[in-house]
């Protein structure tokens, strides 16, 4: 048997099941007789178990970041939509918006309740929420850092310019390109992005369907909106309750 210093490759080959049968038998016979070698093999096993567990924990942390990125938007935006009008009314536009919302709510409670008006208030609120989403802050390429920052700063033209240049867009990029077009009022281009297969086969599928439904409402395309909202309402989508509200 080789000296202890030289055993690393042999042990690794043994643990990787890369030894020929006779070599393996020879090695296992040595293992029975050489306590030091057996201890070294045990250490290699422990190291491999550690490396594996360490990688599992790294991946788990990565997945949790992705899950957080996918989920945080709606909690955050709902808080913002509810609280902002009461705490940050420092300009005329905001006051006007608040008055409009309050009037809408008051009108809802104190006059004849027409479904159209309820839906309109909710629709505007949901559309604002839709555009208030931000991409996650995970590290990525330089391009990703640039467009995500531009998105957070509401520089939607810049986002469109950067993302339209990309050839192999990720699902995230296509989805946020759709949002950027929505923010600019270019609804056909927005729907084009949200309707791509890559988005519909991804975790963004529910959000994309919801965005398309809201855009149809913006375009006053009630027929298409109703079909899609009914589909969302029947699904287990996170937007099903909101879709039901809009269908009232």
């Amino acid at each position: 048997m080789k000296n202890k210093e030289d055993n690393t490759d042999l042990i690794e080959a043994y643990l990787n099941d890369e030894l020929a049968e006779n070599e393996r038998n020879d090695f296992e016979n040595h293992l029975k007789l050489d306590a030091d070698l057996a201890a070294e093999v045990a250490l290699h096993k422990q190291i491999r178990a550690f490396v594996k567990e360490n990688e599992v924990q790294n991946l788990k942390s990565q997945v949790k970041d992705w899950l957080k990125d996918d989920a945080h938007v709606f909690v955050a935006t709902e808080m913002k939509v509810i609280k902002k009008p009461f705490f940050s009314m420092n300009n005329i536009a905001r006051i006007a918006a608040a008055v409009a919302i309050v009037s809408g709510i008051g009108w809802f409670y104190f006059s004849n309740k027409t479904p159209e008006m309820t839906a309109e208030v909710a629709q505007n609120q949901y559309f604002t929420e839709l555009l208030a989403q931000n991409p996650g802050t995970l590290q990525g390429t330089d391009d990703r850092s640039t467009w995500t920052q531009a998105f957070r700063e509401k520089q939607f033209d810049k986002v469109i310019e950067i993302l339209e240049k990309g050839i192999d867009k990720t699902t995230e990029e296509v989805y946020y390109l759709g949002l950027a077009y929505s923010a600019k009022g270019n609804y056909p281009k927005a729907i084009e992005q949200f309707s791509t297969k890559i988005v519909h086969d991804s975790v963004y599928a529910e959000k994309a369907n919801w965005a398309i439904a809201l855009i149809y409402l913006k375009q006053n395309n009630k027929t298409e909106a109703k079909v899609l909202l009914e589909k969302i309402a029947k699904s287990d989508s996170e937007f099903s309750e909101k879709a039901k509200e809009l269908l009232k």
Partner: protein, 180 residues
């Protein structure tokens, strides 16, 4: 590892598992935790060639997540009035092959057996990131020497082999120093 490949797998797998996990519990934090753990364990085991069945991967991740969640319930005993066995029986649509059932049992056993080896962890943290990356790539992802040569800018395959050997020697040396 190819991060894009893992991200794509995550996207589709989450879409499959989310509604099913929601049937088990409405606690979003629990759902995310068991899903993240399950998909990560699945992925690492798959890279090591330990997943036998080729076309049932999402279902396998779901069953792993469910088992992890049930394991937590058993440990914490915070469930009220719900029979765990009854819940297991609800998965009528998932009849996994015997080899994958074995894999699941081993995975759970492996997880339970694993005890944090402080000395190995400390020794690992003393390695430079290139060594960590190289050992990860060879032990878990089974990257070939020519792939490592290109990805990690080695001069030739002999250098890859020598560096891997040196990294493992360093790790063992650090471990023995700490254990002494």
């Amino acid at each position: 590892m190819n991060p894009t490949e893992f991200r794509a797998f995550y996207n589709d797998c989450w879409k499959y598992c989310k509604p099913r996990l929601r049937n088990l519990t409405t606690n979003q934090a629990d759902i995310e935790d068991v899903f993240a753990e399950a998909i990560s364990r699945f992925w690492v085991n798959a890279q090591q060639g330990k997943i036998a069945h080729a076309d049932n991967h999402f279902a396998l991740v779901y069953v792993m997540a469910k088992n992890l969640w049930l394991g937590e319930l058993r440990k914490e005993k915070h469930f009220i009035g719900v029979s765990i066995d009854a819940r297991i029986g609800e998965d009528f649509e998932l009849q996994l092959p015997a080899d994958e059932q074995d894999f699941l049992s081993k995975m759970i056993q492996e997880r339970d057996d694993y005890q944090q080896e402080i000395s190995i962890k400390t020794a690992w943290e003393k390695l430079d990131t290139k060594c960590q990356d190289l050992l990860n790539a060879t032990i878990i992802y089974k990257e070939r020497q020519d792939e490592l040569l290109e990805r990690m800018n080695f001069k030739n395959t002999d250098t890859v082999k020598a560096t891997k050997y040196r990294c493992m020697q360093y790790l063992k040396k650090f471990y023995y120093e700490l254990a002494a």
